[in-house]
Amino acid sequence: MTILVIAEHDNAELKAATLNTVAAAAKIGGDIHVLVAGSGAQAVADQAAKVAGVSAVLLADAPQLADSLAENVAEQVIAVAGNYSHILFPATASGKNVAPRVAAKLDVAQISDIIAVESADVFQRPIYAGNAIATVECADAKKVITVRTTAFDAVAAEGGSAAVQNVEAVADSGLSSFVGRDVAKSDRPELTAASIIVSGGRGMGSAENFKILDPLADKLGAALGASRAAVDAGYAPNDWQVGQTGKIVAPQLYVAIGISGAIQHLAGMKDSKVIVAINKDAEAPIFGVADYGLVADLFTAVPELVGAL
């Protein structure tokens, strides 16, 4: 049994989500290979080769693989899919985009967002925004899987010494092209990788008010997040959204400020180790999952908290 893990990267750096995905592969058991599909991505392949538990790295390097277009990346995965029993993607925007395309082309089911491996063909995955956990068995010859990265502790980034093998890149599909990217630059940690997250909700009241979370995040070295309500209201950018349909996070500390705690939001953060809620409404559902709840006006509590840290 050999498992193929599709690397998450930006052509320069191997992303941490890959390490969680390799961890899920290790739970399944067998040899683990990593596919790096990119352009000018030799450095990424070299990093992947050092990942603990990886026995081979395949590098497909060509301009048409530079921007993770689903059509080209899916073809690339299929081109090398041959003898693999499992093909694992991190459940990131990119993994979720490509994996079903691979599964359908192979005429196999996809198992989305697994949170536990019970055996080589039995997995657990959340449904209904995490309000239920389904244990599912897949009988297809190849298992195409996306992995909820927060559910698997990352393997070590160093320690392995796999060989990097170049594979032929597939031709450009000609069906799609990359136009541009608008990625926010921030000195703060990435939301899905942060050990502390400070998140604001509708209670923040405005984009201007949202800025009072900045000094708190600075003090804690935290990433900033937001509820869907706050994003929809324009208080925070969309890539900050934590929840069922946004990002799934599980930091050491999650500080929910002015967030009521709709089930869709809880779905994205309830696996955090410690949850703090600050809300003036004592009845807010967020207090049902919070380890420490403070019923207070956030506009006085947050500055006070910054001062006390």
């Binding site: 921007d67 277009l69 689903a70 925007a93 990119s94 979720k96 079903p100 395309r101 599964a103 359908a104 082309k105 089911a109 996809q110 198992i111 989305s112 967002d113 959340p126 449904i127 209904y128 925004a129 995490g130 309000n131 239920a132 956990i133 389904a134 244990t135 599912v136 897949c138 009988a139 297809d140 069906l175 799609s176 990359f178 541009g180 990217r181 608008d182 990625v183 990435e190 804690l220 869907r228 994003v231 929809d232 969309n238 890539d239 069922q244 349909t245 050491q252 500390l253 089930i263 309830k270 410690v274 004592a282 207090f287 999952v289 919070a290 380890d291 420490y292 709840g293 908290l305 006390a308």
Partner: protein, 249 residues
């Protein structure tokens, strides 16, 4: 350009589902059902394309039980011109739905399919991408902005860390994210009008599609509950607890 909009009937997003005591699934008897919110955004977008003169016809399609007709009526009340139901009581998984939708897309000769990025019941996030693969069409998933430019669509996508824009050649598949639009409020006159619109019904057999599930659900269980926390009286206590009890700062 004909636009096809697949819609799914799901447990309403406000309902907190309960796991059945025999662990065979969640209890959906007597629970409010609605159109999957992302699909509502898809219907709205297709309707706006028609209002702009870009789309010539909007066809809503659903796969599932007879009651999906209600979901299709809602789609037609928002603005779909007509609807098709692929009726079956069988359990439908994303790959099977994608195969059914491929058959309907080909039958309708649609040039664009807009659908929700994920359904809020199984949270799979697969059907659009699978449909694109089966048709050999390009895909633009998680769309927050769509501009049709001649024979291609320029789509802004919500990705990790921000936004990216791609261009896909038509025919194409687009899946919707939350910020694409805000679906209109459905008015009573439009609900009445929708009742008179055409709704055709097929079966998977009519379309020659085998919908046998590939994944078997062995059990459905409650997620582990979090232990109840405490309420702290003030900020000083909170900081003390975080430092000395939880030891996270």
């Amino acid at each position: 350009m004909k636009v096809l909009v697949p819609v799914k009937r799901v447990v309403d997003y406000n309902v907190k589902v309960r796991v059945k005591s025999d662990q065979t699934g969640v209890d959906i008897a007597n629970v409010k059902m609605s159109m999957n919110p992302f699909d509502e955004i898809a219907v709205e977008e297709a309707t706006r394309l028609k209002e702009k003169g870009v789309a010539t016809e909007v066809v809503a399609v659903s796969c599932g039980v007879t009651q999906c007709q209600e979901t299709l009526r809602t789609a037609m009340a928002i603005g779909a011109d007509r609807a098709a139901l692929v009726q079956t009581d069988a359990e439908l998984q994303p790959l099977a739905v994608a195969k059914l939708l491929k058959a309907v897309t080909e039958k309708e000769q649609a040039q664009l399919v807009i659908l929700g990025k994920q359904a809020i019941d199984d949270d799979a996030n697969q059907t659009g991408q699978m449909l694109a693969a089966l048709l050999g069409w390009p895909q633009a998933t998680f769309a927050s902005k769509i501009e049709i430019e001649g024979d291609s669509a320029k789509v802004t996508r919500e990705v990790d860390g921000g936004l990216e824009t791609i261009s896909v050649k038509l025919p194409a598949i687009i899946t919707t994210d939350l910020r694409l639009n805000e679906p209109r409020y459905v008015t009573l006159p439009n609900i009445m009008k929708a009742k008179k619109k055409q709704l055709d019904t097929f079966t998977p057999e009519d379309l020659g599609v085998d919908v046998t599930p590939r994944i078997k659900t062995l059990k459905v269980s409650e997620p582990p509950a979090r232990k109840a926390g405490i309420t702290v009286p003030d900020v000083a206590t909170l900081v003390d607890k975080l430092k000395n009890e939880a030891k996270v700062i």
